[in-house]
C-alpha cells in the first residue's frame, strides 16, 4: 500500500466517522421532530454517491499510473 492509498483511506475514514456520529446522534433524538430520519436518509445517500465517486476516481488514477 503506497502513501497515496493510505491518505485516501484515512480521509475517507475520518469523514465517515464524523458523518456517522452526527447521524447516530440525530437518530437517537428522532423523537424531537419529524425531519430527523428523512434528513439522515437523504444526506447519507448523497454521502454514498460522493464515496462512490471518490472510489471510482481513485481506481481510475491507480489504473492510469500502473
Amino acid at each position: 500500500m503506497n502513501i497515496l492509498t493510505f491518505v485516501f483511506i484515512l480521509c475517507i475514514v475520518v469523514l465517515l466517522a464524523v458523518h456517522a456520529l452526527s447521524a447516530v446522534q440525530l437518530y437517537k433524538q428522532r423523537s424531537l421532530g419529524p425531519y430527523a430520519v428523512p434528513s439522515i436518509l437523504v444526506l447519507s445517500g448523497l454521502w454514498a454517491v460522493g464515496l462512490l465517486s471518490a472510489v471510482i476516481n481513485f481506481a481510475s488514477y491507480l489504473a492510469s499510473i500502473s
Binding site: C11, S22, Q25, S31, S39, A54, N57, Y61, S64
Partner: protein, 204 residues
Amino acid sequence: MRYDFCRFAGQGKDEIILFRAHRHPIRLISRIGQQLFMYLSLTFVVAIIGYVLTRAFNFPSDGALINIFYSFIFLALITTIMAAWSLWYRSLCIITDSRLVKIVPKGFFYSYTRELRLDGIKDTSFSYENFFHGLFNYGKLQVIGGGTFIVKYIPNPRDIHHYLTKLLRIIDAAKASSTKPIFPEFIPRPEWKGKGFKKTMPTS
C-alpha cells in the same frame, strides 16, 4: 395538539408541550455558508497552485487526481452539512405546561440541558442584539428565576416574551383563585394574527 409529534428526554406522561423552537434557521445557513466558503477557497487555491505548477514548471496535469480532490470536497461538504444539521436540530427551546427547557448539544456525545419551572419565573426580557437579528426576527430571550436562563438565537423573541408573560399572569390568577391553570397554546406567526392563543385542556 400542535406539538404532539415531539417528545424529549425527561418529559412527563401528562406534560403538554405548548411551544418548541430550534435556533433560527439563519444560524444553520450561516454555519454551512462559512464552511462552503472555506471549501471554495481551498478549491480556488489548489486550482491556482495547479495552474502555476503546470504552466511555469511544466508539471504533468493529472485529471484523475483533480477528480479525487473534487470528490473529497463534495464528501467534506456533505459531512459538514450533516454535522451542522445534527447540532442545529438537537438544540431546542421547549415550553411545557410546567417548565421551560433548553437543550444545547455540545459536540457528539454531550448535550447541556437546563430547565426552569414556570412558577419560579420572576422576570422575562428579550433583545435584538444587532441589525441582522432585527432583519431576520431572532434574538435573545432572558428569563430570570433561580438564576438567569438565556436562550440565544431564538426566532420571534418578542412573541415568546409576550407568551411567557401571559403564562405568568395565568399562573398568578390560578394561584389567587386556587384553581388549575388553563394554558394557551403558542401559535407562531403568521397564524397568530386573528387566532390569538389557543386554550389547552387543564392537565390532571
